[in-house]
Amino acid sequence: MIETYIPVIIMILVGLGFGVANILLAEYIGPRRPTKEKISTYESGMEPVKSARERFSVKFYMVAMLFILFDIEVVFMYPWAVQFKALGTVGYVAMFLFMILLFAGYIYIIKKGALKWD
């Protein structure tokens, strides 16, 4: 059974190899002419002044929570999508109902302003 995964394993190895090879090639073949600007931390043009470990706002937490909840919804959609044809109308209606129920939650989030940033 595991033999069916050999292409996947090869794919992972090729992906890893490509990344590692590029880093190594740049390291050994590429020319190096460092200037002060080049070796400073890139921060989208901002001056990097303090620690990167800054305290996040609780607003991010809200988004992460909602992300998880809708992510779990996706977990249920995955087997549904795989079996979509075989399940027929029943499966379609079932998923439709599930989506409607969760859409109620979406309306609630929007109306209560849970995704508003200020």
């Binding site: 609780v58 779990i72 109620a104």
Partner: protein, 170 residues
């Protein structure tokens, strides 16, 4: 030894190493990254056990969503390097070891006390059980009702998140 067993061994050792990394790193972010690696190892283990759906969910939900939340909380609380939180050889550690040992003994007892015939039966039956197709079929036929009820659970959690984490209390 088949390829399957070799893969299982490699992934199993990887899972243990990353799990140890999770609990021994002093830096919480490093700990979290070890946990991500651990989840990937577990996902690989599930694949070797023919549980493809669980493997996908492991990556999708745990390595994806749950870890985002873990990292967010670390950032939120601004836990830097753990400050010299030295715990000597306390009663808590002893108890922890005792209970962990008890669970190991229990697992072994169950494993050794069970009849091998039942186990081989199970494994032959379960070859296609973990495939996403069979889970889809069962979920949308026999388990349709619990599937719809789950949406209530998700909704109540959603309301809870909004009430408790919304910044403004007007």
């Amino acid at each position: 030894m088949s390829l399957q067993v070799i893969m299982f061994m490699i992934l199993g050792v990887g899972a243990i190493v990353t799990a140890l990394g999770t609990i021994t790193r002093r830096n919480p972010v490093a700990s979290a990254m070890n946990l991500v690696a651990h989840f990937f190892m577990l996902s690989g283990l599930y694949l070797t056990l023919q549980a493809q759906f669980v493997a996908v969910v492991q990556v999708l939900v745990y390595a994806g969503a749950i870890m985002v939340l873990v990292v967010f909380v670390i950032m939120l609380l601004n836990v830097g390097k753990e400050e010299a939180h030295h715990e000597s050889f306390t009663i808590r550690k002893v108890l922890g070891l005792v209970f962990a040992g008890a669970i190991v003994v229990q697992m072994l007892a169950i494993y050794l006390g069970s009849s091998p015939s039942a186990m081989s039966q199970l494994s032959s039956k379960s070859l296609t059980l973990g495939a996403t197709e069979s889970i889809g079929t069962v979920l949308f036929n026999q388990y349709l009702f619990p599937f719809e009820v789950i949406s209530l659970l998700l909704l109540s959690a959603l309301i809870g998140a909004v009430i408790l984490a919304k910044r403004k209390v007007d």
